[in-house]
Symmetry: C2
C-alpha cells in the first residue's frame, strides 16, 4: 500500500539496526486519516468473505481495528493482556511473548464474544516474530470460529513470524512488507 | 445521550452491587456503530473550540478516541501504561491507579506528540474515581498544552472522580451519568 509505505519512509525512523519506530502515526500518535485508508484497504482485500467480527489485541491494534471495522460494518473484539476483575464468566486463554517489553503475557477473550459461528478477521499493526498473531489464532481455534485471514499494517519480512503464521494455514495480507534495513534505510519487498 | 443510555440498560450488566459491565459493546467487544454516534456527540459538544489533538489512555479508550477523532479531523495520542523499549526520547510521566486491576501504573507520553501549542480533548470510556483522567490532566499540564475538556462515555456520578476533575477546572461532558444502582437496577441522572 503506497500511502502506508510513503508514511513509513517519511515519518518512520530506524533505530538500533532493525527497530522501526512508527509512533508518529501508527502506535502512539495515530493518524486517523491514514488509518482510515488502511481500513479501506483491508476491506478491499477481505470483503465478500463473510467477515462478521474483527479480532485484535490491546493496545495498538484497537484503533486500527475499530476504524477498519467501520468499513465492514462489524464489531471489534479486543483480546486483553491481563486477567481483569471485570472479565467474568469463562474465557479462552493463550500466551503471547512481547519482544518489545521482554515479557510474556496471558491473553484472554470472553467466550461470550467469540464462537463457532463467527468468521473472524485478525488485525494488528506489526508482524515480526508472530507471537501476538499466533496467540490470536490459538484463541480463535479454541472458540471454534473460522479465521478468514489476518490484516497486518507492517510485516518484517526478514523475521520469522510471517512464515510461522502462513505455515499455520492462515491467509495473511500485509500492507507494507520490509525486506531489510540496509545502512539504516528501509527496503520494502515489491 | 439516549442511544448510549439505552445500550447500557439493554446490554450492560450490574455485578457485585456497583460494578457496571459494558463489555458487550464498549470495552471488550466494541459496537463501532454506537461508538461512531458517541464520537459524533463529542464533536457536537466540543466543535469550534480549536481541538487539534485527542488524548486517551490505553486500552479501552483508544478505539473510542480514534473514531471520535474522525469527526474532528485530528490525530489521537494514546498514553501508555508501561515504559516500552520502543518509546525513546523524553517522555512526560505520571501515575494512575487502576481499581479494576488493583495496581498502580506509570503512564507516559512522548514529548514529541504533546506541546504547548496543542489544544487537547481528553477521551475515556469511564469516569469513576478519576485516577486515569487526573493522570492525563497531569501529563497535559506538564506539556504546557491547553485542556479544552474531557469527553467521557459513562460517569459514575455517585463516585468521587467527577467532582475531583471538575474541581481541577476541567470541563467534563459525560454522555451517561449513573446516579445510583438501586436493587441492581441502573438509575441515570437527568
Amino acid at each position: 500500500m503506497k500511502l502506508l509505505k510513503d508514511a513509513i519512509l517519511e515519518r518512520g525512523r530506524v533505530k538500533d539496526g532493525d527497530v522501526l519506530k512508527v509512533d508518529a502515526f501508527l502506535n502512539h500518535q495515530m493518524d486517523v486519516e491514514l488509518i482510515n485508508e488502511i481500513g479501506r484497504e483491508f476491506h478491499r482485500l477481505y470483503k465478500g468473505q463473510g467477515v462478521n467480527k474483527i479480532l485484535t489485541i490491546e493496545a495498538s491494534g484497537i484503533g486500527i481495528a475499530c476504524i477498519a471495522a467501520q468499513h465492514f460494518g462489524v464489531p471489534v473484539v479486543f483480546v486483553k493482556k491481563t486477567q481483569s476483575r471485570n472479565i467474568d464468566g469463562e474465557v479462552y486463554t493463550s500466551k503471547v511473548t512481547s519482544f518489545t517489553h521482554q515479557r510474556e503475557y496471558d491473553v484472554i477473550v470472553s467466550k461470550n464474544f467469540l464462537n463457532e459461528n463467527d468468521r473472524v478477521l485478525l488485525i494488528d499493526d506489526f508482524l515480526a516474530k508472530g507471537s501476538a498473531l499466533l496467540g490470536l489464532i490459538e484463541l480463535v481455534r479454541q472458540s471454534g470460529a473460522t479465521i478468514v485471514g489476518a490484516g497486518i499494517c507492517i510485516e518484517k519480512g526478514f523475521d520469522t513470524g510471517g512464515k510461522l503464521v502462513r505455515s499455520e494455514g492462515v491467509h495473511v495480507e500485509s500492507l507494507a512488507i520490509i525486506k531489510e534495513f540496509k545502512d539504516g534505510k528501509i527496503v520494502f519487498e515489491d
